[in-house]
Symmetry: C2
Subunit: 219 residues, 2 copies
């Protein structure tokens, strides 16, 4: 099956919204896609006819197994291209999203297979988000926020849940990026702040709010 760019964008957005709430509403999807609720309803009918989702009028909707597989394929393409743009073309990781948004719709399976191999089968994209395999299987990467890491443990940053410009500025200031290895020295019970140490830099303290948004995995 082949889907239009528009259909793919809807499928992908539904998939993303489902990660948070398990059933998606017309308004939230319209908002996500910067379109009008009436347009969403129109497209839902189409996707339902194509048997990609469960949909009951006025009741919300969610992707079924087929729809999820399609979504994961789009996510796979998106994240592989992001990885390519950062590691090969030298883009900053916070600037690749829009371009990957276009590239993800080029749907040659052979292209994606070869790209995957060329990139050496990366497990996560530059933001630390896992890249589904050909069959839609996500690599399991146990990730924990810094707030939950025991003292004295060394970990590797693998994703950042809040990607606002403010957060990115902060990360740049602390010199933290995906792949950065750091040691969690001590948690301060009073305000939940955490002292961390990055390789040869001086130790520094991050607030609980920041600690909760930086995810890491054991080394």
């Amino acid at each position: 099956m082949n889907y239009s760019i528009s259909e793919e964008n809807y499928i992908k957005s539904i998939y993303h919204l489902q990660q948070q709430a398990d059933t998606v509403t017309t308004n939230s999807l319209a908002n996500e896609l910067q379109t009008k609720p009436a347009s969403v309803t129109d497209m839902l009918k189409k996707l339902q006819v194509k048997k990609l989702l469960e949909y009951e009028k006025y009741r919300g909707f969610r992707l079924n197994a087929t729809g999820t597989k399609v979504a994961l394929n789009i996510v796979r393409r998106h994240r592989l291209w992001e990885y390519f743009l950062v590691t090969k073309l030298g883009f900053d990781w916070d600037k690749v999203h829009a371009i990957a948004e276009d590239l993800e719709h080029v749907s040659s399976t052979e292209l994606i297979q070869k790209l995957d191999g060329y990139l050496n089968f990366p497990q996560t994209d530059p933001h630390g988000d896992p890249i589904p395999d050909m069959h839609g299987k996500m690599p399991l990467i146990k990730q924990v926020s810094i707030a939950e890491v025991p003292d004295k443990k060394t970990v590797v940053v693998c994703s950042v849940s809040n990607q606002s410009p403010e957060m990115l500025a902060l990360l740049k200031h602390y010199n933290i990026a995906i792949g950065t290895s750091l040691k969690v020295n001590k948690h301060f019970g009073f305000d939940g702040s955490v002292e961390i140490k990055i390789s040869k830099q001086a130790a520094c303290v991050i607030s609980e709010q920041v600690a909760k948004n930086i995810f890491v995995h054991h080394d």
Copy 2:
């Protein structure tokens, strides 16, 4: 200015047809694009309004300066992607066209700039066709068919004008590809056939017809 995928396909096809005849007809364009003449007329009106071509009813049409620039940009993107697909992803050069056809419509200038740099500013695509630069300037590569090369000269294959499956099979048989270096030993006046020698392989004779279709430049 930004153009739709459809508009870009029309512009590119007009450009290609202009290379041969200098004014393009509705039917030939319809044929090139696998569409109907009526659809072509519709699009021509649009492109005329956007001031990309000279068009007189019933009289044929051609891209103006602006249109040509747009076309060259699309050609540039197409050829850079083809080069990428072959040299980085390991595709066969005769299989990349369709995929590049999709990739060429991703129109981020920054993407193409970085891709160009990553590929080391190639002058020609895998078929030996020149890649226009950012401003639409084509690199001048003096190319001559093997039939015209003087005896005893060593040259590098840079393009093949006939790209039929039969021709490609022949090239594969002789072990000739873009970039292959070969020595032109001797022209046989009787039938125009030519003896060539490729690096460590035994010398072989190609027919005049083949010699006329393989273009080379001096080393």
